[in-house]
């Protein structure tokens, strides 16, 4: 059974189409990065998956309809929707008591173990904690839940570099075990590059790229082209071209590495560069179509 399966997933707010018929299949045990520009429909897609918003089309999460069965689904799914959703009046000890009380798969000892590694004391209120500490607390709660799917929507927004790095490190070292599935959206793409197993690009309500990282590495090659070979390189039909310190960097899709090595220095593109290339290409095609 796939962890998430969507067919023709659609959601419109009035005339504004947020999700335009998405087809999607996420297998269990993957770490999927959902990347897209602002307003692309990332949060709407996640909200549909989490049962927070009604939708059209077909969507199953762990075999359940999230809109109809949100409370039951939440036994197996946890999510951090934003950095600042923990109620500010609650004490650390109270939030542990509460989650232990309502969640059948919450391991309180585990959460306390994670918190012991931080400087968060159990008698503090959330309002007294720094933004980074609130994120640590929320992560400790979520990691102590034995869930099958974890959804993170911009989990590190507004945190400094140290907290961000620590966040993904503990997620990988203390939580991910190869059976769980993680879906994460973030604008800090370079930080999750080495964490992800799968890449999903979303733009204007549509999935524009859906590949595993192995496929991405095999399919996309970035070449630092020697100046005298630019014309030869262009003949191989790059999908994107940019200038770095006066040198041309060309991005190729599905061209053999051996041929590319002849015109310059070939390497795997960063997700950021790939993202820019795919988005700009879409821009051009849609403008061309409009003409």
């Amino acid at each position: 059974m796939a962890c998430i399966e969507a067919r023709g997933l659609r959601k419109a707010f009035g005339t504004n189409v947020a999700l335009d018929g998405i087809n999607l299949r996420v297998e269990e045990g993957r770490i999927v990065g959902l990347i897209g520009p602002n307003g692309a429909g990332k949060t709407t897609a996640l909200n549909a998956i989490l049962g927070l918003t009604p939708f059209q089309g077909e969507l199953r999460v762990l075999g359940r309809d999230p809109w109809a069965e949100r409370d039951r689904l939440m036994c197996d799914v946890s999510f951090i929707a934003d950095v600042a959703v923990l109620p500010r009046w609650i004490r650390v000890s109270q939030v542990l008591d509460y989650v232990a009380g309502v969640h059948p798969r919450f391991d309180r000892g585990k959460a306390e173990g994670f918190l012991a590694k931080t400087s968060i004391r159990s008698n503090r209120k959330v309002r007294e904690l720094s933004k980074g500490m609130v994120a640590q607390l929320h992560l400790a709660l979520v990691m102590a839940i034995d869930a099958r799917l974890l959804v993170l929507d911009e989990p590190t927004l507004g945190l400094d570099i140290l907290y961000r790095k620590q966040f993904y490190d503990s997620l990988l070292n203390d939580y991910f075990d190869g059976n769980r599935t993680i879906v994460v959206t973030t604008h800090q793409v370079e930080e999750v590059q080495h964490v992800l197993t799968d890449l999903l690009f979303i733009d204007r309500g549509r999935i524009v790229l859906d590949r595993s990282m192995e496929e991405v590495e095999a399919r996309y090659v970035e070449v630092l082209v020697r100046p005298e070979q630019v014309a030869a390189a262009r003949a191989l039909k790059p999908i994107y071209e940019r200038q770095v310190f006066g040198q041309s960097v060309l991005l190729f899709e599905g061209v053999e590495r051996s041929r590319l090595a002849a015109v310059g220095e070939a390497r795997t593109p960063s997700i950021t560069d790939l993202f820019v290339a795919v988005m700009e290409k879409r821009c051009e095609t849609s403008q061309g179509a409009a003409r």
Partner: protein, 303 residues
């Protein structure tokens, strides 16, 4: 070994589900008490203020020795009036707390975005809204009852300490207080009036709270006001206003004629109260409001 164990646990899902729901309700109510400490602090403060006033009154009464001039029956009546006053003050405070709590609770979780955290846990909208309803419907009435009785006990203790020697019959006061009877009457009063009779009001406030885009206070009080106004202008009638007054004042037809009644709370006669159609239509309206609030909370996110 693991596989059979998993299969074994499957048939027991149903009772587990009920136990889980009970746990969810318990912890949901617990968290309301964590968040809204005014639920118990406000009635306690009212009791404290009343006791302080009562003590001052007792001391000045002793000084003027006015009490000794009264006949024992009059002394008792004087004290009984004060019991009633203390209960009215504490329970009135509880009603006000209940109104503001109901109006804010489902709005507040959207305003501070914590709704996203609550919804990330396996607690259904039904459990959430019903737990919130128990605060004005059950918790506040019972709490104010408990605080009222404790206050009355302290009033008796205070009078026994301050009044001896002034000619007041202390033993008579203790006998006349008849705690058991008063407790039952008050219990009946809070469960019927504060719980059942006011249920549609709390239901309406919860419904407004779950839906209002901002300023739930205005959304709660403006529509009834507008309806009254429009009705008056269009038909020159005041049925809706009458309906509201009837709801707020209590069911007059269920009350006994108050001439010389010992305790005004005892005037609510059970067989009359439970045969009042207003009670049952009120409860039906409350159920509709609460059910609508449960359904609407599904659609709500942070604002």
């Amino acid at each position: 070994m693991n596989a059979p164990a998993k299969e074994m646990s499957k048939p027991s899902i149903q009772p587990q589900g009920i136990a889980a729901a009970a746990r969810a309700v318990y912890w949901s109510i617990q968290r309301e008490l964590w968040e809204n400490r005014s639920i118990y602090l406000a009635p306690l403060a009212a009791a404290g203020v009343f006791l302080a006033g009562f003590l001052i009154n007792m001391v000045s009464m002793r000084r003027s020795a006015a009490a000794s001039a009264l006949a024992p029956a009059q002394q008792l009546a004087l004290l009984t009036t004060r019991y009633e006053l203390s209960a009215a003050l504490i329970m009135g405070t509880a009603v006000i707390v209940g109104i503001f709590y109901s109006l804010d609770t489902l709005y507040g979780e959207r305003r501070d975005r914590s709704i996203l955290f609550w919804k990330s846990l396996p607690v259904s909208d039904l459990v959430t809204v019903l737990s919130k309803l128990t605060i004005p419907f059950l918790i506040l009435p019972l709490l104010s009852l408990f605080i009222s009785l404790t206050t009355q006990f302290f009033m008796l203790v205070l009078s026994s300490m301050v009044l001896p020697g002034s000619g007041v019959n202390i033993a008579g006061l203790w006998r006349g207080a008849s705690f058991f009877e008063v407790s039952l009457v008050l219990l009946y009063h809070v469960l019927t009036v504060h719980g059942l009779w006011y249920a549609p009001l709390y239901g309406w406030l919860l419904l407004v709270s779950v839906r209002a885009p901002r300023a739930p206070f205005i959304w709660a009080f403006l529509p009834p006001f507008v309806i009254c106004g429009v009705e008056k202008i269009a038909f020159n009638t005041t049925h809706f206003l009458g309906l509201l007054q009837y709801r707020l004042m209590g069911p007059a037809e269920a009350m006994a004629p108050s001439g010389g009644a010992k305790d005004f709370m005892a005037t609510l006669i059970p067989e009359h109260f439970f045969s009042t159609p207003g009670l049952w239509t009120g409860l039906a309206v409350a159920a509709v409001f609460v059910f609508a609030a449960v359904r609407l909370r599904r659609y709500q996110g942070p604002i």
